[in-house]
Symmetry: C2
């Protein structure tokens, strides 16, 4: 092997990886948007067969030798290539420790399990989904042990979603939040009880809500030739490359805030997807630095912009024009207060900015218990409900509104939830830094996103997965992650609504 | 190799074939529906890379030996397996004669060419698309020669889309139509000139048109769990298996007949896709006997049902309820006449039932000339226009409304057009047979599709691609293909509107 050939082979491997990633990504996107209900079995089978193909193509002696050769000759590679090679080696190490048949079985299990979850949620039958939770936790624990039996399995999973984060880091983060934020929650839920928000559940025509979604993305300067908005039960974003990003939302006639804020949230993910450096297209370094960093971008647009007084003042006249019958008797300030009103609520994705992280803590603590204390899945609904009572003072009336509400465990996404709370905290830290050079509040008040988008692109988004979250935060903020910014932001906002 | 292992290997091959077919099919469907405009390049690259993978997986010594072994031991296989093996061997023979690099280049060319066509059509610049037409004809001619240099290339292509049909058959068919149908066209275009159809271009709200689409598919007894309706520039159907069929339509506010009849047409394709025998799911025998047979089903629902007096009488009160402002002053009989009014028109997909086949003849004759007379692509617009003048007495004002109107050549679908006209003719022959046992007109008048659907399912649809078109027509009608039914139907209908 010489370096020229090795690079050529590597480029071919990358093109192949991208081809599978693209078509399987589209197939999943389709499955969650337009595909007919009964299509899931055949789709599951097709995807599991292809995941076996992908395993065979990427986990074998030739690829291993190629990667080793490139690593040895790192000096001859450009910076981007070294990063790509490192990432392939990392993925190789992870995947190759899992036997192929178990790997394929797992993709089949994900499909079945997701379907079982949908049915259980619909019918409020936790007992039909419980065996899948058990299997998902068992399988993930086993896979983690295959990968490194010297570490705690849950630490390995946390690191998968947020590199460099272990239980002790997440514990510290949540303990800090508990100390700093929980008192504000107690205060502000009571203090702001009287805020009027009845108008948010008036009937807002869905075609007008759809119009609003595109008005928002136009304001955020997103190019309609490069992205599209679809609809799905649970909003999500699929970013395939700088020319092909899709996000979804869900329109409820009597919940204007739902499509408004899910559009702002997913637009944040989508802007990240559209702003990767062009040189990353078709490479393994697309997709963002981590789940937490991705979530920092979505929270940024959803909360720091979308729930700010400045942006609401800017967009509100447009909304009154779109919804004259629904909003004529409501002022911008009333709307601002209504969408920020802190409430103890049951459903994570409908939670306000302040109480949101409590929902995450419940999930994190349960995952931690499943790994560390080996509890039985039968006990989970009771544990869930008691934690909601403890943190939020509210008990779910049924499992559909309790432990069955989230899709994540059905896909085996365990260790994922903490990244939601980290994302909010990262976003506050980024904005503090941004404000040193960008007149953030003034620009937002004018609906001018040129400089705001540019800062995020230049400091975060363009790097894709080149840097780890820790490296990226250090580069962008010139200091390490510090949850103080987040707590200060919440304290400041929710003591002066 | 023993028979048990061979069957096992074959089943694995089939599952793999289906996995690629499914995900690449979804990717194409997505590309034509929701994908953002600028996504085409990356999609084209991904699909061409995977088409190379598919080639390598299916065209090699092992597969060849496996298929030969199964063919030799045919006696030990069940009926369905023998049909599958035959089909794999046939496809193997076709594909293996084309060198892999040319095969991959061709899929890339298709993507580029399709994009060039879209731009040329939009901007009325035939000259930018002409080189692609040349390449597409050249490549298809070369591929046909690789496959069998003892036959005429165009005969090989015609046979691809309609097995058993060569130029002489198509010539005979069109000559018969010219003799029998052209005189009726001349008569009826003049005779029915006064039919009122102004109301078809009133403003019909798009959300109501969408509602109508689902009302129609409900009447046709299509299960919404198994199919979905999307939107695209050109309506089409993607049938993946009995649980996953999608069709598209296009809603124009001022063209109610467009979405109505494209829905009926694509519903016909979709019903075929939903009614394959369950044992064909995941196999190479899904997808219909031929393009012509598929088109017979779509034409059946679009024209023989959708444009019949009985069905219009049945559906019309519902339409008046949906569109009271637009249709209150129009009777069912006026609507029936308007959607059947024969007109000489420029655009194939908007043509009435009677003049439709003339549009096909123009295309067939041009394709035939490209192969047999070796004419230059620069001459094509002039030839196109003179043929429209000759057959329809009308000259396109520009190429967008002339030679650039159809997508087919951009994808290299050459030899495909005749199947549209054959489909209409097959449909008339099927209905004549069906009427021996089903009271077709009476059932339609009641909106009762149980027996009509059942006849089509039992005699045509359930067989998928098990039989050739010729075999299928013989089985269903107890005689060979006869265009007389079609001509009689047109004569009868268009002399008594």
């Amino acid at each position: 092997m010489n370096i020229k050939n090795a690079i050529k082979n590597f480029n071919e491997l990358e093109q192949l990886q991208n081809a599978y990633h693209y078509t399987m990504g589209i197939t999943n996107f389709d499955g969650n948007t337009v595909a007919p209900k009964n299509s899931y079995k055949a789709r599951g089978l097709a995807l599991s067969v292809l995941s076996g193909e992908v395993y065979k193509k990427f986990i074998n002696k030739e690829v291993k030798e190629l990667l080793a050769f490139l690593k040895e000759n790192e000096k001859e590679l450009n910076f981007l290539m070294t990063k790509k090679v490192d990432r392939y080696i990392e993925d190789y190490e992870k995947t190759s420790k899992i036997p192929m048949n178990e790997y394929i079985e797992y993709t089949k299990l994900q499909n079945e399990s997701n379907h079982a979850w949908e049915e259980a949620k619909k019918n409020n039958t936790y007992e039909t989904f419980a065996p899948y939770i058990q299997k998902m936790f068992d399988t993930n624990k086993r896979f983690a042990t295959y990968r490194d039996n010297t570490k705690k399995p849950y630490d390995i999973l946390l690191d998968d979603f947020e590199k460099g984060m272990e239980m002790k880091d997440i514990d510290n983060f949540f303990n800090y939040l508990k100390k700093e934020v929980v008192p504000i929650i107690k205060y502000s839920v009571k203090e702001y009880k009287g805020i009027r928000d009845d108008f948010l559940t008036r009937k807002f025509p869905i075609n007008k809500q759809k119009e609003l979604s595109y008005i928002l993305t136009d304001i955020l300067k997103m190019d309609r030739n490069n992205f599209t908005i679809a609809e799905s039960e649970h909003p999500f974003t699929t970013g395939l490359n700088n020319y092909d990003v899709r996000f979804t939302t869900h329109y409820y006639e009597d919940m204007i805030a739902s499509s408004f804020y899910s559009t702002m949230h997913e637009a944040g993910h989508a802007i990240y997807g559209l702003n990767h450096g062009m040189e990353l297209n078709g490479s393994i370094l697309l997709g963002g630095a981590s789940n937490g960093i991705h979530e920092s971008q979505s929270r940024f647009y959803e909360n720091l912009i979308g729930r700010s007084k400045e942006f609401i003042n800017y967009i509100y006249p447009t909304m009154v024009k779109l919804f004259p019958d629904q909003l004529a008797d409501v002022t911008a300030d009333e709307f601002f207060k209504a969408v920020n009103k802190p409430k103890t609520s049951l459903i994570r994705i409908e939670a306000d900015e302040l109480t949101y992280s409590l929902h995450i803590m419940v999930r994190y603590e349960i995952e931690r218990m499943m790994f560390e204390d080996d509890i039985n899945v039968k006990e989970l609904p009771a544990i869930w409900n008691s934690k909601y009572e403890q943190y939020l003072g509210i008990t779910p009336p049924n499992d559909t509104k309790g432990i069955l509400q989230d899709v994540h465990w059905s896909f085996g996404l365990i260790g994922y939830f903490p990244s939601y709370a980290l994302g909010s905290a990262y976003a506050s830290q980024f904005i503090a830094k941004m404000k040193e050079t960008v007149n953030f509040n003034k620009e937002m008040a004018k609906g001018n996103f040129t400089n705001i988008n540019k800062w995020l692109k230049e400091n975060i988004q363009k790097y894709g997965a080149i840097y780890t979250p820790k490296e990226l935060i250090q580069k962008a903020c010139n200091e390490e992650f510090n949850p103080k910014y987040y707590c200060d932001y919440l304290k400041n906002k929710f003591t002066s609504l």
